[in-house]
Amino acid sequence: MSFAILACTGLDKPEGSVAREVAMRLAERAAAEIICPVVLNRTPVRYKDALAENRLIVVDGCATQCAGKLAAAAGKTPFHKVIVTDILKKSGFTLEPELRLGPGGIALAQAVVDAIEAAEEAGAREVAGSGSTPAGVEFEPPSDFLVVVHDKYEFRVPARGFFFNENDVWVQVSGGRARVGISDYMQQRLTDISFVDPPPVGATIEQFGEVGSVESTKASFELIAPVGGTVVRVNEALENAPESINEDPYGSWIAELELTSWDEDQALLIDGPAYAADVTRKAAED
């Protein structure tokens, strides 16, 4: 598989310099084409083929996400995406304040490269077979919907079989397993979903912790976990077809969890009719 790498230029902040270093290191290892964000912004046609023919890795320095936004503008869904500031917060690295990288910056860049490569290998393993849903555990598609009408919009909520938190994340439970996704109301709020970042398989997640995120051209949305548990599967189909969430929000699950304390978690969730009332209130406030 060949890659194109679109990274921050590294001329604004040290985190950006790390992104630039990551791009160069990745390109050295994996014979990948580097895409200059400034040139892409100015003359998109220059990289038309590189974007069409390769999987894209986006490396941003900070949350301004210049590279990510340019990828979205070019209509390209990244295969992999990292933001250096996010990794910096989660890791113990300290970054020197200068644009020219010191030993801390170099070490961080290498750690990011390693993380990207590990994620790719893990991804390859998942596709090869791990994470199946056990026999007897079935997630039936919803049959009856409650419909909240607001102006020209219609928001559908499954009448039964699904629970929600007030952060617009649904959960469907079957035999100790749970699938989570975002509600019809939230997918319509976000508009066209362009990227899904599922939680890592094997991660332990607390109720109300983060269970992945999705991005649209309009916003980034962090999924607040309606239940606690261990991530056993992610919906790989969404990687290449994030728009499925817009088309079928209650079928497009993002992660499957092995539940830890469903009874306790359930007490803090609302059912379909209560969520429909919540959506009615939110739509009126928008």
Partner: protein, 109 residues
């Protein structure tokens, strides 16, 4: 009444809102452009942006901080807030169990 609750807990009792670090903020206004709930308000003067309506902030939402290039927006510690909400939720849901021991004490006197 339903307007201002989160998980059955009055929104005013949940201290979830962004804090702006003015040492870092460069007033690019990305956060304000993003937030549909009018949490922020622009103003004239040295400080050009304030958290004007903290109770409009969606509990647990941190999306504005993800638009912030200079990393100037922070939120309260989430596990702490979750614990607080669970406590308040239990109190709202079960005033009987909270009141019962006190009532017994009264009776015992």
């Amino acid at each position: 009444m339903a307007e201002n609750t989160f998980m059955g807990v009055p929104r005013s009792k949940i201290p979830w809102a962004p804090t702006i670090d003015y040492e870092k903020c460069d007033y690019c206004m990305e956060c304000d452009d993003f937030c549909p709930h009018r949490v922020f308000e622009r103003c004239d003067g040295d400080v050009q942006l304030v958290v004007a309506n903290p109770e409009n902030c969606v509990v647990f939402c941190r999306a504005c901080s993800k638009t912030c290039g200079p990393d100037a927006i922070s939120f309260p510690d989430k596990p702490g807030i979750v614990a607080l909400i669970k406590r308040l939720h239990a109190a709202e849901a079960g005033p009987v169990s909270e009141g019962a021991p006190a009532a017994q004490k009264e009776g015992a006197k």
